[in-house]
Symmetry: C2
């Protein structure tokens, strides 16, 4: 549980080499979720960073997990803490590799899915190895590459870039936080060639005064995932000297499963045409296997750019399953393919494009938020018999959760009260930004029509009119 410190990168090598399983934990999570992850994963040791250690310490205290704190950076060593970088009493020889089988666990990554509790995505060495090499191919990493860590390593192991950059012999530049006032100077100082981040970080960079320092600077390969880039974003990135690669994937696919980048000739397209191309999720990552779009009968949809189906994945770069959750694993791999839950079309040129993301996931600031988790919390409020949470577009975070509430007859509650109620049980980034009180639209069989709510949330005055 640490920021992008060198020790966090080292852990991506040291822990697997010991034969242990790396379980990086999102530093933004609340104590209860961290405790759940530590307990569910049967963790033996929690290494955390001072400053982030309040939640870590509290969660460890609620379990029997041993806590080890990393020393402060910049030489300010705290007694009893672990100092990997300046102490030199390590073993003279590396311990023997404790890896005997390529299907052996490499890491666990807890991810919010469509159920309330996070699920432990269990990844094997084979998949991590191959997807790391896939990233080398996709991003053109070489021993001359300089990679800036603007993506949290705790997030799906930095999409396997933790291993990819080293596989290519490139240089990692660690960055405590994705702050443009650190990013722009680092790009110039270290002659950064590559970085990965969510669109949120890109927007922060575009709105920062230091962007002027990029004038006349070298070009940087930027790969971004999550929400698809908009044409406005692409135009501004281009002017900043950033060449965008659009990646799509899930924690369950070790990060990148498809990619879209412009080839030589497409570099000369208009910004509008570039945006049309780059918004696509693209073609399969080279180390992935088949990326298919299946209709309800399990048949591949035609490559007509119109017929929707679900993206399903097969191949080596898929998780072994959800740890200690055979039901969810079986559901995810129903019919022998991995179900992403994302609905997409295939264009005539082979590129796929998502038309409707997995309905119950909200991606805010690059973090997956489960609408079901929020709904469960809301349902615990005595005045809320029925709540539905959907994504609403947000300028900074990409999306935030919006809650629609059907009140219990004769009871009232304000948006402020519900916000405070949610904060008691949820990490702050999961707390809905909007609350609307209304009768929920339902199908004849009583199923909530979330697509209607999404339209309401996008519409003018949504939320404020009700809340």
């Amino acid at each position: 549980m640490a920021s992008n410190r060198p020790e966090m990168l080292a852990a991506h090598y040291a822990v697997p080499m010991l034969g242990a399983v790396l379980n990086t934990i999102n530093t933004r999570l609340d104590v209860e979720t961290v405790e759940y992850i530590l307990t569910h994963s049967e963790s033996r040791l929690l290494i955390s960073e001072r400053g982030l250690s309040v939640n870590a310490g509290a969660a460890a205290g609620l379990t029997s997990v041993e806590l080890c704190q990393l020393a402060e950076q910049k030489g300010h060593v705290v007694s009893g803490s672990l100092d990997l970088l300046t102490e030199d009493h390590g073993p003279d020889e590396l311990p023997a590799f404790a890896m005997a089988d390529e299907w052996q666990p490499l890491c666990l990554n807890y991810t919010s899915g469509t159920t309330g509790n996070p699920k432990g995505v269990f990844c094997h060495h084979r998949g991590g190895y191959l997807n790391a090499l896939g990233n080398v191919l996709a991003l053109g990493l070489t021993c001359s590459s300089v990679y800036l860590w603007t993506l949290p390593m705790f997030h799906c192991n930095g999409w396997c870039q933790t291993w990819a950059v080293t596989a290519a012999g490139g240089l990692h530049v660690c960055l405590d936080k994705p702050d443009p006032s650190l990013i722009f100077p680092a790009i110039a100082e270290y002659k950064v060639t590559h970085l990965s981040c969510t669109p949120v970080v890109l927007y922060m960079m575009l709105n920062h005064p230091l962007r002027k320092t990029r004038q006349g600077g070298h070009r940087v390969s930027v790969n971004s995932g999550g929400p698809a880039p908009t044409s406005a974003l692409i135009a501004q990135l281009d002017a900043l000297g950033f060449d965008l690669t659009h990646l799509y994937g899930l924690t369950e696919s070790f990060g990148p499963a498809t990619l879209r980048q412009l080839d030589g000739e497409q570099q000369h397209l208009t910004i509008e045409r570039k945006a049309v191309e780059l918004v696509k999720q693209g073609v399969r990552h080279l180390t992935a296997n088949r990326v298919r779009i299946l209709d309800e009968n399990g048949n591949d949809v035609p490559a007509d750019g119109a017929t929707m189906g679900e993206i399903v994945l097969t191949g080596n770069t898929l998780m072994a399953g959800y740890y200690r959750n055979p039901a969810a694993t079986e559901k995810a791999f129903e019919d022998g393919v991995f179900h992403t839950g994302d609905l997409a079309v295939r264009h005539a040129d082979g590129n796929i494009e998502i038309r409707e993301r997995s309905k119950d996931i909200i991606i805010s600031g690059g973090e997956n938020i489960s609408s079901v988790e929020i709904e469960s919390v809301l349902h615990r409020h005595p005045a809320v018999p029925l709540a539905a949470v959907v994504a609403v577009p947000h300028k900074k975070w990409g999306e935030t959760p919006a809650a629609f509430i059907e009140l219990r007859d004769g009871m009232t509650v304000t948006a402020e009260e519900l916000r405070a109620f949610c904060k008691l049980e949820l990490a702050s980034f999961k707390v809905p930004s909007q609350f609307a009180f209304t009768e929920l639209p339902k199908t004849a069989t009583g199923k909530i029509q979330k697509f209607v709510l999404r339209e309401w949330a996008r519409g003018p005055g949504a939320g404020s009119a009700h809340g």
Copy 2:
């Protein structure tokens, strides 16, 4: 059986996709050897190039293998020949992948070992896939790379570059033959970034008048293997704008198993120091597993730069075995490691360096020649009861075979007569360049001391004094 034509590259994809096994045959081989390979490999179809088809046709005629000739290049289509590039009546859809198992055969490569008959190195998809990605990493190939084919694709599938360049999305520039009068213009015209070749081709380039066209040209990454580069070669390559990577491997290891290249700081070393570094075989290829040097008792030699042992390999990028030759396979993998037969030391920095190559192999112009094969031919001559063949340094070819002959009592034969005799049975590049008539040096147990012969061969007037 073809030169580096586009069809030859296409065959590296089409044949495995059909579920068939690709068996590229050295175009310099004599009819008898081609016939042996076709028969031993149980070939079903021989595709050959017109012009090279004399031997191919003769060999196919001696077997029941169907012969298919490629059309002439440059539009000169021959009736009844196969024209892959201009005819457009291919299937609308690719046939389904016929690959069901990563251990399935990908290709056979017949290689001259220490026994007379060539052995069929049986390679699997898993190894080819991984070594191709290893080459991408080693050479820093990207979608901007332009690769010039100065290495025969029939030689160990071009060290897996046939697949590596495409994996990275780079451009292949096919070249019929490694002729400097074609190479220099191609480098300039296509802005070649990478090429692979044996030192022989590099010497040819250095001695060619067109080398002056490289003045002020862009730098090219050159990877070379076989005989280690000399300091004179390295100095001249550097001046030509060529950055050398030294590769070491065998057909049995899908080509590259180790590599040596200079890092940023080492680029500033003197030529003499660079040569000392680049002559080393280096460190393991990233997709290889362990490269060890074992003493006679099977223990790793110390990293002292002095203690010799045999290089042994383990990992995914090793052949499955020699086709239809369990005895040779068992010997090669004795004690669970692959025995290269090459003797080397390990330096303190981890780099390995060969001190004595597998004794019975002569590498001439990048081709493996079996001394045992030549000896067997010589032993068929009535006047030759005992012959020993060793490598002798050669300015153009790196090495050539030198034969030492013990004559039968009372009989005589001249070097010219033996040369003519060998030509009847051997490809011309295998015919010894020198013949010496002398009593052979032997150990107490009667074993021929080839190391003494190698000294004689290197000594002043060797061969000519006797021959």
